[in-house]
């Protein structure tokens, strides 16, 4: 199993560095929500055992689909206690690559995908379809009912929009004495903040393309849409932030997702493909969690470090950079309030190291370049002149003479569509590597003695978890969301327990050999069947062991 994992991993890492003139600029080639929904519907018609669960409907009427792919079976039924893994993508509408990877994963999943021998898979390629639809229409990353962001009694009346009629919403440089920005001296296309500490003065304001539509002397302060999905979950929800919603889970998408997770306690691990990332630079962990925590407990951070080996190897060339931890996001709710381990990946970010293929070190001239310069150099190599629109003079109705141009949207956070299969196989690799690391219950060191030579028996047995994952995370224990791990002694008819308990609960078993010894003394009628012990857990299946006298 390990070998397979490594191979897949290497395949996934060969991301091209050299110029690729054929790259399409995102979102070209990306699927609209309707196409994703149709693709999922087609998948379940092809795979009879798969199921498509509509967990809800978005405000604009789009279905919220979770693909349910069955894990280990016993006689056609789900194996008792089989764990589930949840993959969620596109919580943010502008992270289109994540949704594409998740869809591509489903489309290429073979029936003998190794993970499915161990776990059930829930796959949600598009958690926020309304925002995706708007992003694809060039309208920005918005969703939800119109809101009055500037509290002037009108809704959505002053958002960024195309003002020079070129069909896109870019950036405006508005010459303003004391404006915070100036043109990068080495490349005047780029903008950077003036270093006032070094005596530099700013020259312009840098604004999204738009105008003061409502005449309140502010630009773009009340744009389209309302509540941000990734701010609407309960952990660190911000009560007075209009983007966070009137209350936790006020939005149909967030509520549906949370209710789905609550309905499926067998979900023991989640992979969230979005704008945050804990695989590239895994967190160090904290000793104690608080209601404001964003860093996992140490024991769980260690787990993330171990599990990410299936994702990135030592010779990996590019670091995927995630974004800052956001208040009220889904992944934090999963971990900090439900104790479910979450792997987060931003999947891709622009390769900025400027290495030629085969070279170990970046080019010499790259050393002094700012991040923006590196980005522009990369964008030109990949997309030619399509990525950046030169600044053009424009007479703005309220702002006077300005220039409009700059970065096209989406390309800095989404790969060209042709890279999706490679990113998918990388995601596939980590999912495959997870299977053998999920918690497993195993009875070891079983000793049974007949105390009187025939009817009274003393039994000892140790329940062991030889795999990486514990039966519940440290966080699940800390926030009391751990699930029952029950041990039943099963005596044949006429049997009588003398010492020990017929049933007991264990809080959890640690990973990597975590164990617990049990002890019973019982009496059995002559010539009866042997006693047995059964361990049952929601996250790690069932394990039964006969308590027979060793001969």
């Amino acid at each position: 199993m390990f070998a397979v994992t490594t191979t897949l991993c290497c395949l996934g890492l060969a991301l091209p560095q050299d110029p690729q003139p054929n790259y399409k600029l995102p979102p070209q080639g990306y699927h609209a929500p309707e196409e994703v929904a149709a693709a999922l519907e087609e998948l379940v018609s092809m795979h009879l055992s798969w199921d498509l669960i509509q967990i809800g409907t978005s405000p604009e009427g789009r279905p919220l689909y979770v693909l349910s792919i069955p894990g280990p079976q016993l006689a056609g039924n789900p194996a008792p206690g089989a764990p589930a893994i949840l993959v969620v993508a596109n919580l943010e509408g502008d992270r289109l690559g994540a949704g594409e990877v998740a869809l591509n994963l489903a489309q290429n999943l073979s029936a003998n995908f190794p993970l499915l021998e161990k776990a059930h898979l829930f796959l949600m390629p598009m958690a926020n379809p309304d925002a995706v639809a708007h992003v694809l229409h060039g309208e920005g990353n918005w969703r939800g009912a119109p809101t009055d962001n500037d509290r002037d009694g009108r809704v959505d009346e002053d958002g960024a929009h195309d003002i020079n009629g070129d069909g896109q919403v870019l950036w405006m440089r508005v010459p303003t004495p004391g404006g915070q920005w100036l043109a990068e001296p080495k490349d005047s296309r780029l903008s950077r903040k003036a270093k006032t500490d070094d005596g530099e003065a700013g020259e312009f304001r840098l604004l999204r393309e738009g105008a003061d539509t409502d005449g309140d002397r502010l630009e773009n302060e009340d744009g389209k849409g309302g509540i941000q999905l990734e701010a609407n979950f309960p952990h660190r929800w911000q009560q007075y932030d209009p983007a966070a919603g009137p209350y936790q889970l006020s939005e149909p998408e967030s509520r549906a997702l949370v209710d789905f997770v609550l309905l499926h306690p067998e979900i023991c691990l989640a992979l969230v493909l979005d704008n945050e990332d804990n695989l590239t630079d895994p967190p160090q962990g904290e000793d104690k969690s608080t209601i404001q925590s964003t860093i996992p407990l140490k024991a769980d951070a260690t787990l993330i470090k171990i599990l990410r080996k299936g994702w990135q190897s030592e010779d990996d060339q590019e670091k995927v950079l995630g974004e800052e931890h956001q208040h009220g996001n889904f992944a934090d709710w999963l971990y900090f309030q439900r104790g479910i381990l979450v792997l987060e990946s931003a999947l891709w970010s622009p390769p900025l190291e400027m290495k030629e293929e085969g070279e170990a070190k970046p080019k010499e001239e790259a050393k002094d370049l700012s991040k923006e310069q590196k980005l522009l150099a990369w964008a030109e190599r990949w997309y030619g002149d399509k990525a950046f629109v030169p600044w053009q003079d424009f007479h703005h109705p309220t702002l006077g003479d300005i220039t409009i141009g700059g970065w096209k949207p989406l390309l800095r956070t989404n790969p060209p569509i042709s890279l999706i299969p490679q990113l998918r196989s990388r995601t596939e690799a980590i999912l495959s590597s997870l299977g053998p690391q999920l918690a497993k219950l195993s009875w070891e060191k079983v000793e049974v003695k007949a105390l009187d030579g025939q009817q009274v028996f003393e039994a000892r047995a140790t329940l062991v978890n030889p795999h990486t994952m514990p039966t519940d995370t440290a966080m699940a224990i800390a926030n009391r969301k751990h699930l029952p791990l029950r041990i039943y002694l099963e005596l044949p008819a006429g049997g009588k327990l003398l010492v020990g308990k017929m049933q007991q609960n264990l809080r959890r078993l640690e990973g990597l050999g975590g164990s617990h010894e049990f002890h019973w003394i019982f009496q059995l009628p002559p010539n009866s069947k042997p006693a047995q012990v059964r361990a049952v857990s929601t996250h790690s299946g069932e394990s039964v062991c006969l308590l027979e006298v060793q001969s």
Binding site: G153, G215, D216, P234, Y240, R480
Partner: protein, 606 residues
């Protein structure tokens, strides 16, 4: 609120000339609807009383079913107010509920009593008349009808059935509600279990004077009794008793403000509004921004509680003054009750209901904890032993003499499957947290009328001292005062601070004029009272984030060009709208004092 006060005041005044004091004089008061206020009613009975009030006062009472409890009981809000003086959502409102904790039943009676008393005094009492004409009460007698009925109808302790009845796995064993209390002796009560043990093995001994009382041993005393908790057996065989009963959560921890998950806050639920009852109430309250006051009745302890529920939440000073004023009046109205702050004087609460309505929605909100143990004897706590009647001897005296033993079950033997020979006995659930039957009416009257006082102090804003001053060249300065005659501001400082809801709006409009400048004046600026805080955009519409202060005034001023008539309108979420018309012709000499009444003032029809 689109309701205009002055008109209804005129109607009110004329009615009083003919009907005042017809009902309540010389002890001859005859309520139209007789409700015996000397017992606690099942939820169905409460609904029947509401129905009877509706039949007797059809123009004042209507109902809205806002949802269903987990067991399917209707969550029925009584909408109380004179329908002929305006629709409910066009008036400012007070929300009153009770009984979110199923065992805290008397809030239900108190809530309905408020409706009953106001209705029965509409004709005879001027202020009841005004409240029903000008205000609306949204009354939900029980936030938790399932818990209420379970407590009233089945065996319980004074403290059990606090929860709703959605099954919950409290002991993490994968089973739901499988180990509740058990009424072992079948007497309809859940009492205490005690067991006599060999001397030296006990934690308690029996009181020498009254063997019903268990005395904890101290020092080197020897005990011969142990207390085994409340009646029950180990139903699920896990070695523990009564550890996973019916429900097992606290709906008063299920609201959005400062909500925290279960490991921080017991009973919080999976997320805010996760229960059908709280979700229904949340939807209704969010859809009614006209709610300007909240009362949520609980028991017990004799308290008028306000937030915050945790020390990290801060309430603005201006609002605290409003709370203090109402709280002090409440302490006067409610003997033995104290006005307290939840986190400071009681305990931490995350996600409490009144925390949400104030911190999240900016509504002045109280939780009254009905019934103080001092009231058993009408003496202060030095004589009665304080909270939850910790002085057992005095409670037993009350039971023995004032109720002839009605509240207590004497210890009697029972054979327990696990503990062997034990005794069962103790106070019934009707003792401790709810008033005894003969004291119910006083308890609920004082609390209901505290709500009436709270509602009376909702902001009431008038336009006064309209002045039009000619500036020459067709320019006029128009000034008007917004005067709030009540204690509460039209927007709480909390709402202003966090930009909750919509700011109040004052607009000046006319068909033949142009508004050039608009803004507010600062009467408190002793040196430059003429300085205008002008509106950046659209000077015809002045937005008041802080509203109009309680017992205060805000001064508006415009410079307009034009002629003819104009109209000034005041619109607010939590105060009635007001309107005034005037003419663009000079009404005052340039040096006239500002207090002079304007002859142009005219109250517009609704």
């Amino acid at each position: 609120m689109k309701y205009f006060l002055a008109l209804s005041l005129m109607v009110t005044a004329s009615l009083f000339a003919t009907t005042a004091s017809a009902q309540e004089s010389g002890g001859q008061w005859q309520p139209k609807v007789e409700i015996p206020w000397n017992r606690y009613y099942t939820y169905e009975e409460l609904l029947q009383h509401m129905q009877r009030l509706q039949q007797a006062y059809p123009n004042f009472v209507r109902f809205e079913d806002i949802g269903q409890s987990f067991e399917g009981r209707p969550m029925r809000v009584m909408i109380l107010g004179n329908q002929e003086t305006g629709a409910d959502n066009e008036k400012v409102a007070m929300w009153v509920d009770g009984n979110v904790h199923g065992n805290e039943v008397q809030g239900g009676e108190a809530a309905i009593y408020l409706a009953w008393w106001l209705l029965e005094h509409y004709q005879s009492n001027e202020r009841a008349h005004q409240l029903l004409d000008q205000r609306v009460f949204y009354i939900l007698p029980s936030q938790n009808p399932d818990g209420r009925d379970h407590w009233l109808e089945n065996a319980n302790t004074p403290h059990s059935s606090r929860t709703g009845t959605t099954p919950t796995d409290n002991d993490h064993d994968g089973l739901f509600d499988e180990d509740d209390y058990d009424d072992l002796d079948g007497d309809g009560e859940i009492l205490l279990m005690r067991k006599k043990v060999p001397l030296g093995q006990g934690t308690h001994r029996l009181d020498r004077d009254d063997p019903r009382i268990m005395v904890p041993i101290e020092g080197d005393q020897l005990g011969d009794y142990i207390i085994l908790g409340q009646e029950g057996i180990d139903n699920d065989g896990d070695g523990r008793i009564n550890e996973d009963g019916k429900g097992g959560y606290d709906m008063n921890r299920n609201w959005p403000s400062d909500w925290q998950p279960e490991h921080i806050q017991y009973g919080a639920g999976d997320y805010p509004f996760s229960y059908p009852e709280t979700a229904a109430i949340g939807r209704f309250i969010l859809a009614h921004p006209n709610i300007a006051a909240v009362q949520s009745f609980h028991n017990s302890g004799g308290m008028l509680l306000r937030g915050p529920g945790d020390e990290h939440v801060h309430y603005p000073r201006a609002d605290i003054r409003v709370y203090d004023s109402l709280g002090e009046e409440g302490e006067m109205m409610l003997p033995f009750y104290r006005y307290l702050i939840i986190h400071k004087d009681l305990y931490n609460v995350h996600g409490g209901f009144v925390n949400w309505t104030y911190e999240g929605l900016g509504i002045f909100s109280f939780t009254n904890e009905l019934w103080a143990s001092e009231q058993y004897w009408g003496k202060d706590r030095e004589h009665t032993g304080g909270w939850f009647s910790s002085n057992t001897r005095q409670q037993l005296e009350f039971n023995d003499s004032v109720t002839l033993g009605d509240l207590y079950v004497d210890w009697h033997p029972f054979h327990h499957p696990l503990y062997g020979d034990i005794e069962i006995g103790g106070f019934k659930r009707q003792h401790g947290r709810v008033a005894p039957s003969f004291m119910i009416e006083e308890m609920i009257h004082r609390n209901a009328l505290f709500c009436a006082r709270h509602a009376e102090e909702i902001a009431d804003v008038h336009l006064e001292a309209l002045k039009v001053e000619e500036l020459g060249n067709g320019l006029y300065r128009v000034t008007v005062d917004l005067v709030n005659s009540k204690l509460m501001p039209s927007r709480s400082a909390m709402a202003a601070k966090h930009k909750i809801g919509v700011p109040d709006l004052v607009s000046l409009e006319g068909s033949n004029l142009q508004v050039l400048v608009g803004g507010t004046l600062s009467p408190r600026d002793r040196f430059h009272p003429e300085r205008l805080q002008s509106v950046v955009r659209d000077p015809a519409h002045i937005r008041l984030e802080r509203g109009v202060p309680g017992h205060g005034r805000s001064l508006m001023s415009w410079v307009v060009r034009g002629s003819g008539s104009f109209r000034i309108r005041y619109q607010a979420e939590k105060a009635d709208d007001a309107e005034l018309e005037g003419q663009l012709e000079s009404t005052v000499p340039t040096e006239a004092p500002r207090t002079e009444e304007s002859p142009a003032k005219k109250q517009s029809p609704r």
